[in-house]
């Protein structure tokens, strides 16, 4: 009895009855858990910023200039009256933790809007260029080439002097810089798809070009679109942070990570925390999105391997 029971249960136990630890490890290897956790934290900190941040992000008291993070117990023991700053205070006495939390709003908003607009615009242009071909294709692709050939940061600098610093300008600039990748990739896919029999059939039965593009070609390029989008998030967040580091991003005092790194640069020897944490936030966010993008690419479309290089 014992023996039969053992043999009967032994085989399934090998497969599914692993220890909890092993199961977790297996899930962690197949699913991008850590990146998803980081992105989850990021999104929730953007959404719930007022609840998470325990101090005001845009105003500080100069009296609390460069107060160290909470684990500098010696400092807080000597100055028991000072308020506690989780990640310290910056040169204007503002809470670094609250600013980093609120900063995620800027990054997420910009990345979200730019990515949606760039993906939608780029997809439409790519579909049209790939499907109609000839002169339309040639013309549209030269515009794509142009977005790659222009030194983005410098043009952005000039645009910002002319129109002044604002969130809208940054978003418009980043859209102008990011739609080309989508257009190029979608066009390539469309060139292959439009030769398929089902597209010719649709044409034969009299489907309009708009209907073919939307109904027959768009679903075919959707996976590529997702992969390109997820690989672009990191680049976008980096580009935004570079602009705000150079002082042409979202106007102060709105906290943006890049600008925070720049503000703390002069106090690096006395208050490292005001540069370290915002930069770390950028790094982890970009890293998480890059990991997720790689994973999605391997899952949805392994042919796109060269995209990351």
């Amino acid at each position: 009895m014992d023996i039969t029971e053992n043999t009967a249960t032994a085989t399934p136990r090998r497969i599914s009855g692993q220890t909890l630890w092993k199961q977790t490890w297996r899930i962690a290897r197949t699913w991008p858990l850590i990146p998803l956790i980081i992105i989850g934290l990021l999104v929730s900190s953007a959404v719930f910023a007022p609840l998470i941040a325990n101090k005001e992000a845009e105003r500080g008291d100069i009296f609390f200039k460069n107060i160290p993070p909470i684990w500098y117990t010696e400092y807080y023991a000597q100055n028991p009256d000072d308020p506690k700053f989780i990640l310290g205070a910056d040169a204007l006495g503002r809470d670094v933790f609250s600013r980093v939390v609120y900063g995620s709003r800027i990054s997420i908003t910009i990345a979200g809007i730019v990515l949606s607009a760039g993906a939608i615009g780029g997809t439409i242009i790519g579909l049209v260029a790939g499907y109609f071909g000839r002169n339309i294709d040639e013309l549209l692709m030269r515009f794509v080439d142009l977005t790659f050939a222009v030194p983005f940061i410098l043009v952005a600098l000039v645009v910002v002097i002319v129109f002044g610093q604002s969130l809208t300008i940054i978003i418009v600039l980043l859209i102008a810089f990011s739609w080309g990748v989508f257009a190029r990739q979608v066009r390539g896919e469309t060139l292959v798809l439009r030769e398929q029999d089902y597209v010719s059939m649709a044409k034969v039965v009299g489907a309009s070009p708009v209907y073919i593009l939307y109904r027959h070609l768009f679903p075919g390029v959707f996976n590529t679109l997702m992969v390109v989008a997820s690989l672009r998030v990191g680049t976008l967040i980096l580009a935004e942070s570079v602009l705000s580091y150079l002082g042409v991003g979202v106007p102060p005092p709105t906290p943006a990570w890049g600008a925070m790194v720049s503000d703390g640069r002069d106090y690096i020897a006395t208050a490292w925390w005001s540069t370290f944490f915002p930069g770390l936030a950028i790094f982890l966010t970009v890293l998480a999105f890059n990991f997720l993008g790689d994973w999605l690419r391997d899952r949805l479309d392994p042919r796109l391997r060269q995209l990351a290089d």
Binding site: L146, P151, V160, V162, S241, L246, G258, G279, D309
Partner: protein
């Protein structure tokens, strides 16, 4: 082949022309250029005279033609701040930027390529993980933050290297590493995937079957072929470096073209700004052109159309 080169050349010229058009349009949108020169001694007559001298009474198309013609001869006007010719002040800063770029390029080459080879040859070992981690993390690190952190650790904590400015060779190390880091990561990725592909190819298997020594297979048969991708890529990198220099120069107060451009933005110094953009665009387009040609020369599979 000749048609291909001519075609690429025409594209390059068109891009430069479009950039110039964009810059001119932007500069006119910024408002009347005379506003920069107005002071308490300006009268209505001198304002008009200034307008005539600058050609503002002519149609916009003519103004653009004049501006573009001057720009082609290298005349972008005088800096509104220093009154020095914009081209001269840019050219004066150019060597510093080129030196920084060269330093970054050398750093990226000597770290990226060996690490890429090593991680492909010792696949699945510590070196492979190290190389891949370096590649992944390197591409996610914001350059400006890396620079500040290097200053914090190496210059402030251990006092090994200077924090900023330009001087003897020690001043080059941190800026070059900061600027070259991302490209080193890209080199690791490119070299590794190229090496893996070649090590798996038929002719390498044949060489192994023939009994060629492992070292010879790696260096003579594979490495030479694997170098094609990273080397053609370096053309693109040179252009990327020039843009990256804008950021790195700001971090290290490096007296180059990038920091001049940023300064001119802060000062609303339009002639210097437009001059910098045009010169950077020229570098950019030139590098892209060379890469296109190199690709076509090295890889015959590319169609010249």
């Amino acid at each position: 082949m000749r048609r291909f080169i001519v075609r690429r050349l025409v594209y390059g010229v068109v891009v430069i022309w479009l950039v110039s058009f964009l810059i001119f349009a932007l500069s006119r949108m910024a408002g009347d250029p005379r506003q920069f020169f107005v002071d308490e001694y300006t009268t209505a007559e001198s304002y008009e005279a200034m307008g005539r001298a600058m050609g503002l009474d002519r149609p916009l198309v003519v103004q653009y033609g004049l501006w573009f013609g001057n720009a082609l001869t290298g005349d972008f006007g005088r800096s509104l701040y220093t009154r020095v010719s914009a081209l001269d002040s840019i050219l004066e800063r150019m060597p510093a930027t080129l030196q920084l770029t060269a330093g970054a390029f050398i750093f990226a080459l000597i770290t990226g390529i060996p690490l890429g080879v090593l991680s492909a040859v010792r696949r699945g070992t510590f070196w492979d993980y190290f190389g891949r981690t370096f590649a992944l993390y390197g591409q996610a690190l914001p350059g400006f933050w890396l620079g500040v952190m290097l200053v914090l650790i190496i210059s402030v904590q251990f006092k090994l290297l200077p924090t900023s400015g330009k001087g003897d060779w020690t001043h080059y190390v941190l800026p070059a590493v900061t600027l070259g880091w991302g490209s080193a990561a890209a080199f690791v990725r490119l070299t590794r995937s190229a090496m893996l592909e070649i090590l798996d190819s038929e002719f390498v298997k044949f060489a192994r079957a023939k009994g060629v020594a492992n070292q010879k297979i790696i260096w003579k048969h594979s490495f030479r072929n694997a170098l094609i991708a990273p080397l053609t890529f370096s053309g693109i990198l040179l252009a990327a470096f020039l843009t990256g220099a804008v950021v790195t120069e700001k971090v290290f107060a490096w007296p180059g073209m990038g920091s001049l451009a940023v300064q001119s933005v802060i000062n609303n110094d339009f002639p210097v700004m437009t001059g910098s953009v045009m010169i950077f665009a020229g570098f950019f387009v030139g590098a892209n052109f060379v890469v296109d040609i190199l690709y076509a020369v090295i890889d015959p599979r590319i169609k010249y159309e």
